[in-house]
């Protein structure tokens, strides 16, 4: 009997100790989960930022989990939400914005910041960045994080050989330069690929032209694609002609070299891509190669407008505990501090997302350092004009599928299977079917 009691007491005591220890640990560190989509070197940077956050204070702990790609981050969050296992914060790419806005599964940034007394000053964000993640009424629903825009990379030495010391600002000038480069013996004046982001979306933004009606979809799910009318068919027909004349060359991973690789090794004199590649070009450029970035060109008859933001933002998910939200709020506040906003452009090619951070970096001479020079072009391009209906962003359902339809049709047009106009009409027709299906799926829901 005594034995039994002793054992009982011992068990009770150890159970109590275990609970107490667990409780103490939980009290010192309130954890929350953060999922991110970036991979490779960029993913390591995020992990690094998490670690510094965790080292910087004792109350909260961010558990950061890489999902192996933007696509996966979105898929996994959807699957996790349906199983009620969602993270508190998740990094979602620009194209996923519309799904998240309509999901009813998110804790909107404005409400979250107010409810958890965050120090965010929404006016600090560059308008071109903020508008992409804002509702049609201008309320921000996610926190901007890694942001970029499209720029033109050009080889100064190659242009020097044709007597040019400045980047072409217009497509007309670019065409003349490409001809001169070809005549001077350059086999590849410009590298292109089938990525619609810089060749279609950013092109339309810079010309203040709509990709879809209803303000690129911001005003409602009944938007229809509009890219098959006006300037784009003419421009892509020009591109096709230049391709046939050998002024352009298609460079993808499948041909052996991507745009960036073909530009960095000096084989192609011009290309257009995200500013996020700036660091990669810098570290892989052929020895002694002189290169710069410039804003993407605009046809002479059109006034230049701001290009759109690319990259990802941070969303807060519904259905987590108050403690997790407090921890997430601390993390998001910390990420938005000037020091952290400046850290990202320091270690990656992304731009600073707030105006004060940009000003501080300019004042500190960041952009006059040779390895970073040119990155300010992306900010200049992004904030060239205040965002208009056509340049604030794209809010179309299932946009990744629309992109891939357009990409397939561009491939068909550029390889001569069908005329450019027909390819664009087909892409728009198929894209509209996708939009109608999305509208039906989201029946009864309104874009905020």
């Amino acid at each position: 009997m005594l034995m039994k009691r002793l054992i009982g007491a011992a068990l009770g005591a150890s159970a109590f100790l275990a609970v107490a220890a667990g409780g103490a640990e939980a009290q010192t560190r309130q954890r929350f989960e953060f999922w991110y989509g970036l991979t490779g070197q960029l993913g390591e940077r995020i992990a690094e930022q998490c670690k510094r956050f965790n080292d910087s204070q004792t109350r909260f702990e961010a558990v950061c989990v890489g999902q192996g790609g933007y696509d996966r981050a979105e898929q996994n969050t959807i699957a996790a939400f349906r199983a009620r296992q969602q993270p508190t914060v998740v990094q979602i790419y620009d194209a996923g914005t519309v799904n998240f806005m309509l999901s009813g599964a998110t804790y909107n940034a404005v409400d979250f910041a107010r409810d958890f007394h965050m120090n965010i000053n929404w006016a600090d964000y560059f308008p071109g960045v903020a508008s992409y993640y804002a509702t049609s009424k201008g309320e921000m629903w996610s926190f901007p994080y890694n942001s970029s825009s499209a720029v033109m990379y050009w080889n100064r030495q190659a242009f020097g050989q044709i007597g040019r010391s400045e980047a072409p600002a217009s497509w007309e000038q670019l065409e003349r330069d490409m001809r001169a480069l070809k005549a001077a013996g350059h086999a590849c004046p410009m590298a292109i690929d089938f990525d619609t982001w810089q060749w279609v979306e950013q092109f339309l933004a810079a010309h203040n032209l709509p990709i879809a009606t209803r303000g690129n979809g911001y005003a409602g799910l009944d938007a229809e694609l509009a890219f098959n009318r006006g300037l784009l068919p003419t421009h892509l027909a020009n591109m096709k002609r230049w391709l046939d004349e050998g002024l352009l060359r298609i460079q993808t991973a499948q041909t052996g070299k991507t745009l960036i690789q073909a530009f960095a090794d000096g084989s192609c004199a011009v290309t257009m891509a995200s500013i996020a590649n700036h660091g990669v070009v810098g570290s892989t450029a052929a020895p002694g190669m002189e290169w710069s970035v410039a804003m993407i060109p605009v046809y002479e008859a059109h006034a230049r407008h701001n290009t759109m933001v690319g990259g990802a933002s941070l969303w807060v998910m519904q259905g987590k505990s108050r403690g997790e939200y407090e921890a997430a709020a601390a993390f998001l506040d910390w990420v938005a501090t000037p020091a952290e906003v400046q850290w990202i452009p320091n270690v990656t090619g992304y731009i600073p997302i707030t105006i004060p951070a940009y000003q501080a970096m300019t004042a500190a001479g960041f952009y006059s350092q040779p390895q970073y020079a040119g990155r300010e072009i992306a900010i200049a391009s992004l904030s060239f004009t205040p965002p208009t209906e056509n340049t604030r962003g794209i809010r179309l359902g299932n946009f990744t599928s629309i992109r891939s339809e357009l990409q397939s049709e561009l491939q068909a047009a550029f390889t001569g299977q069908k005329p450019v106009q027909q390819a664009l009409d087909d892409a728009a027709a198929r894209g509209n079917q996708i939009l109608r299906r999305f509208e039906q799926t989201m029946r009864g829901r309104q874009l905020p």
Partner: protein, 295 residues
């Protein structure tokens, strides 16, 4: 002895023994398949809620889409040609090894390796080998500029994925063919040889007919495999392009479902794919197996 069979007297014991297996089959096959069947008749936002019953709409959308039929056609072309290629090479290699040509022991060991390589790794290797500018094959473009470019030419892209898929299946076929060949009694071959049949004649008239069950089994496996397991290769090498030339059915399911987040459309397509594979296998068993004699 005859007529005596081992039986379970207690039904519950039998059920208990079968249960783990049934649970696995149910969890990993019937449940997801049932779920897909349900999704195929509904529309639901990715995050859930707002589920609507839409009847046959998803199937009609699939069948009315000319690009879906394009992907069916591409899949058939891919399946048939990679099966033919893989079986031909598998059989030839097995015949060589069976004849105990020099070094056959090493080859018997080495030929199986490719099957152990995961599809995405195969894709990555072939993407590099066949890259028109940087790969091994770029020499062809030095002599005949523009002849080979899977990034722009749909036919080249199809050749690329067929070769990559066949390469990994050859290994599998090789092992089965070799086992089949080795089970053929030597006396038959020796009798043929004494009657004056040469090597090729013996292969054609003795070895291949006797291996018919193996050939049949491999045709079923190869075709099924090329329909359902080609995703990794396509994803890494061509991404379904150029302009949908390699947009196989499994790849289209992936892009519509996981990239496009249209789970209902992807589910409808998976049901169609499942029925197609079932139908193909049925046809093979119903009409081809009849002509095969198991020894």
């Amino acid at each position: 002895m005859s007529g005596k069979r081992v039986t379970f007297n207690q039904l519950w014991l039998a059920i208990l023994l079968i249960l783990p297996q049934m649970l696995l089959v149910f969890t990993f096959f019937y449940w997801p398949a049932g779920e897909a069947l349900f999704w195929a008749f509904t529309l639901e936002p990715p995050f859930g809620g707002n589920l609507q019953w839409v009847g046959m709409q998803n199937f009609l959308t699939v069948f009315e889409d000319p690009l879906y039929w394009n992907s069916v056609q591409r899949s058939l072309l891919f399946g048939l040609s990679s099966t033919a290629l893989a079986m031909l090479f598998g059989a030839v290699l097995a015949l060589f090894v069976d004849r105990q040509l020099t070094g056959y022991k090493a080859f018997r060991f080495l030929y199986f390796w490719p099957y152990a390589v995961a599809a995405p790794a195969v894709g990555l290797a072939f993407r590099f080998i066949f890259a028109p500018e940087a790969g091994f094959i770029s020499a062809i473009n030095q002599w005949f500029p523009g002849l080979w470019n899977p990034a722009l030419d749909g036919a080249d892209a199809m050749v690329l994925i067929v070769v990559a898929n066949a390469w990994s299946m050859i290994a599998y076929n090789f092992i089965f063919f070799l086992a089949g060949l080795q089970s053929i009694p030597r006396s038959l071959l020796e009798a043929g040889a004494m009657d004056g049949a040469g090597v090729l004649r013996r292969m054609r008239d003795i070895q291949l007919p006797l291996m018919a069950p193996t050939v049949f089994f491999l045709v079923v496996i190869n075709i099924t495999d090329s329909f359902v397991n080609s995703f990794g290769i396509v994803d890494i090498t061509t991404g379904g392009g150029p302009s949908r030339a390699t947009d196989l059915m499994v790849f289209k399911i992936y892009s519509d479902g996981f990239k496009g987040k249209d789970y209902s459309l992807a589910a409808a397509q998976s049901i169609v794919l499942m029925l197609l594979v079932v139908a193909l296998t049925f046809i093979q068993f119903r009409y081809v197996e009849r002509r095969i004699h198991y020894t």
